[in-house]
Symmetry: C2
Subunit: 136 residues, 2 copies
C-alpha cells in the first residue's frame, strides 16, 4: 500500500499523537529523561495501514498498543528529527494538532542540540510540553 503525502497528513490530523514524556531517571545527570514519541494507534484489523506508514516514513516500529489496538511508533530523536519533523514541516497539519506538532518540533530541535542534558533545558522542555497538554 503506497501512501500519498496528503493522505498521511489527513490521517495524522485525525489519528496521530505528538507526545513529550518527562520521567524521573536516577541514571541521568539531570535526574530526568525526556521521551518524545510520535504515534498512530489503530484497531489491529488496520495493521496494514500502520505498516504502510512505517514504509512511508522509513523509520519506526509497529507494536501492540493495548488490547486489540496496535501502534505505529517513532521514538528515536534522530528519526524524529530527520524523518517525521521535516515531513510535517513540508506538509502542514490542518487541525489544531498543528500546535502540538510545532511544540513537539521545538523540543526535538532542542534535544538535537543536547539541551535536554541540562537542568535548565529540561525545565524549558517541561514548560513547552505542559503548554502542549493544555491544547491536547
Amino acid at each position: 500500500m503506497k501512501l500519498d503525502a496528503q493522505w498521511v497528513t489527513g490521517f495524522v490530523d485525525g489519528e496521530g499523537c505528538f507526545h513529550v514524556g518527562i520521567n524521573t531517571h536516577a541514571d541521568m545527570k539531570t535526574g530526568f529523561q525526556v521521551l518524545p514519541e510520535f504515534t498512530v494507534v489503530q484497531h489491529k484489523r488496520d495493521v496494514t495501514v500502520l505498516h504502510a506508514l512505517k514504509a512511508h516514513f522509513g523509520c519506526g516500529v509497529v507494536r501492540t498498543s493495548h488490547g486489540d489496538r496496535m501502534a505505529y511508533r517513532v521514538r528515536s530523536v534522530e528519526h524524529l528529527l530527520n524523518h517525521i519533523v521535516p515531513f510535517f514541516t513540508e506538509h502542514p497539519l490542518k487541525t489544531r494538532k498543528r500546535v502540538d506538532f510545532e511544540k513537539f518540533r521545538r523540543v526535538i530541535l532542542m534535544m538535537s542540540a543536547g539541551e535536554h542534558l541540562t537542568i535548565d533545558g529540561v525545565q524549558r522542555i517541561r514548560t513547552i510540553a505542559r503548554a502542549k497538554f493544555l491544547v491536547g
Copy 2:
C-alpha cells in the same frame, strides 16, 4: 482553508463515520424509516476544518454534536448520492472503513431506486446495515 482530496480521504479514514439508521415510523407505509448519515465529529476548536469539509463536498451542515464536540453531517440522499458517494468511489479509503463505505454506498443506491419504500427493500437494507456493525 482549501482541502486536498487525499487529505480529505486520510482524515475521513481516521475520523469519518458512514451510518445507516433504521427507525420505526408509523407514518411510513413500511413502518420503517431508513436514515443514512455521513458524519465527521471534531472538538469545537477545529470547527474550521468541519466548515472546510462542507465547502469541499458542497453539501451538508455543521452542527453541535454533544458537549464541546461539533459535527459535519450529510443526511440528504440526493447529496449523499451525488456528492459523497462519488468522491469516495473516486478516492478510495485505505482503512477497513472502506468496507463500511461500500455497504453505505449499496444502501444509498438502493434508496435512490426507491427500494427503502418496500418491506422487502427495508429488510435487505437492514441486513446490509447489520453486517456493517459487525465490522464497525
